[in-house]
């Protein structure tokens, strides 16, 4: 028997990638009684219907009970801990022209590619701050950020870090397998938006125009054995409720198919960047973002919920007390930004500029333990 289901077909069959008005209508029709019924069920189980209910405008009046449940469930599944990680940008060269991004190849900014030595210098600063979880980030720079570059770098980094993830261009399954063998155990790759038309509108040139290739990339790295699957939508491009529904279906599909891997949701709200447009048709308010995070938690008990330094300190501190399980801290979003006073362009402007130790103190203040390292890939012989 062959399994014919794939994510492209699932989204198309459910009209989550195009002509999504049927879902917009369903969201509008949800009643307060339905929300109350959903909240009376045991939290942590996913169904499309439950997701629609919790994301609906009607559920907006129930954020407090949702937050109470989400907090309880998160503590039950993750304990009173929050994991810290730091991003290391190795290149801001990019072949794409995404209209929202500071790395857009059409913008005139200071481009930098870190040599292995420069990357290690940044990594040493990060390690000295206490981090043991690292995220390697780059623009879509496949000419420079190759499997070979990353493998060699990972080999060195493994001395300093327990877990290394990447957020780079999509690769092939064999490439991911090689990176996994080199000690990289997680991949984050955001679809940005699941709406095909909106996607085409923002991704005007470069390989990233290929919606399907991007959508099917998590299949490739999960099949290659990656333990952490990072999903996300760039909040501001399209209706957040509809994109959250599509992302939830994507997550449910991946969880069932690649059940050895863990899903993380990220919530990047569009931040200002140099030389890119500043007016967004679908601005996501704090309240909306909270509802999105709560709805996902109440449908997925065991997924990681990640909040980066794109968010302000006050908001991050509140959410760490509700359902967040991983945060970045002290982030520099420009290559070389940790070890030098570089003028290289940032991908976005950081909103939480507190040093890592202050973020750790904030975690402790909300009754959680800041965890710099919670597992070691070396333990299982990778």
């Amino acid at each position: 028997m062959t399994r014919t289901t794939n994510i492209t077909a699932i989204l198309a069959d459910n009209r989550l990638d195009k002509d999504r008005s049927v879902w917009a209508d369903a969201l509008e029709r949800v009643t307060a009684a339905q929300v109350e019924q959903a909240l009376a069920q045991a939290p942590g189980r996913y169904s499309v219907a439950r997701m629609v209910t919790l994301l609906s405008p009607a559920a907006k009046a129930y954020l407090e009970p949702m937050a109470q449940q989400a907090r309880k469930l998160t503590i039950q599944r993750f304990g009173r801990t929050i994991q810290l990680y730091a991003p290391l940008y190795v290149s801001n060269v990019c072949v794409n022209s995404c209209r929202y991004c500071g790395y857009n190849r059409q913008t005139d900014v200071n481009r930098t590619r870190l040599t292995r030595e420069q990357a290690l210098a940044d990594a040493e600063v990060i390690a000295a701050e206490g981090f043991r979880h690292l995220l390697l980030v780059s623009g879509e720079d496949s000419a420079y950020v190759t499997v070979d570059y990353l493998s060699t770098l990972a080999h060195e980094l493994r001395r300093m870090f327990a877990s290394i993830a990447i957020e780079i261009q999509p690769l092939q399954k064999d490439d991911y397998a090689a990176l996994f063998a080199a000690g990289i155990d997680g991949v984050a790759l955001y679809q940005e938006t699941y709406d095909r038309d909106v996607y085409a509108d923002y991704h005007v040139a470069g390989p990233k125009r290929d919606y399907d290739n991007r959508l099917e990339t998590p299949d490739r790295y999960a099949a290659a054995g990656m333990r952490r699957i990072g999903l996300g939508v760039l909040l501001g491009l399209a209706d957040w409720r509809l994109d959250t529904l599509a992302m939830a279906e994507h997550a449910a599909y991946l969880m069932k198919t690649y059940w050895r891997s863990q899903i993380d949701f990220s919530f990047p709200r569009i931040r200002p960047a140099t030389n890119v447009i500043h007016e967004w048709p679908y601005v996501v308010s704090d309240e909306h973002l909270v509802q999105m995070m709560l709805a996902l938690r109440l449908c997925f008990a065991d997924t990681g919920i990640v909040l980066s330094t794109r968010e302000l300190p006050a908001f991050r501190d509140r959410m760490m007390n509700i359902c967040v399980t991983r945060v970045s801290a002290g982030s520099k979003t420009n290559p070389g930004g940790y070890a030098s006073d570089t003028t290289a362009a940032e991908q976005f402007t950081v909103a939480d500029e507190r040093p890592p130790a202050e973020v750790a103190a904030a975690i402790a203040r909300c009754g959680h333990e800041p965890v710099w390292k919670d597992w070691d890939a070396g333990f299982i012989g990778v």
Binding site: E36, A40, R45, L63, E64, K256, S285, E287, A314
Partner: protein, 260 residues
Amino acid sequence: MNDMLKIADREFHSRLLVGTGKFASNAAMDAAMDASGAEIVTVALRRVDIENENDNMLAAIDRARYLLLPNTSGARDAAEAVRLARLARAASGIHWVKLEVTPDPYYLLPDGEETLKAAQTLVQDGFVVLPYMNADPILARKLQDVGCATVMPLASPIGSNQGLKMRASIEIIIEQATVPVVVDAGLGAPSHAAEAMEMGADAVLVNTAIATAENPVKMAIAFKLAVEAGRMSYQAGLAAQSTHASASSPLTGFLRNEQK
């Protein structure tokens, strides 16, 4: 209502599978099967008794009405199960098999490791495999990954009539499965079957509780109705239990100051 049970490439109206063992007579078995509404019935394979007269149970089963599902009961390891499955296919022409590997003669608990091995071989050999298994969610996913058409976790030890002792694990299996979940073994009363269906099981398999009832036909009807009721309840969505209202907003109060 179009709510069919789909296993491999076949669809069934009934979500109750029945076993044919332990009935007092072929006539009692036939009457109970008829009353149960079942479309899938399990049979076993045994050596012909060469010293005595054998009766032919196949003659008692209407093959046009029921899908005969041979099991591999008696197999103690993967090799025996594969051999039995192939014999069953040769005997019946049916390439469906309920895979059972039970080395323990007392509780007849299934051996997960051998079951997985046998499943792999049989799927490659073209069988539609329905494996009987302990309520182990990881094993369920491995069986699903090698191409099994269903998973069949036991509710409690076979023949024990104890009901859904494995409830917590079966809930996880149902939540994660991409193939139908058929709860098998240990369902001693129609209420147990209803409970399994209410949880979201796709079907149940019942034998002892029907075959050994005082009135097997009545019990078969009771199970049929219980399975339908449980299914309907699952689809309807169980009503709310209780909501704990919270007056204050300690977690989300900060949002009120925000400009919408």
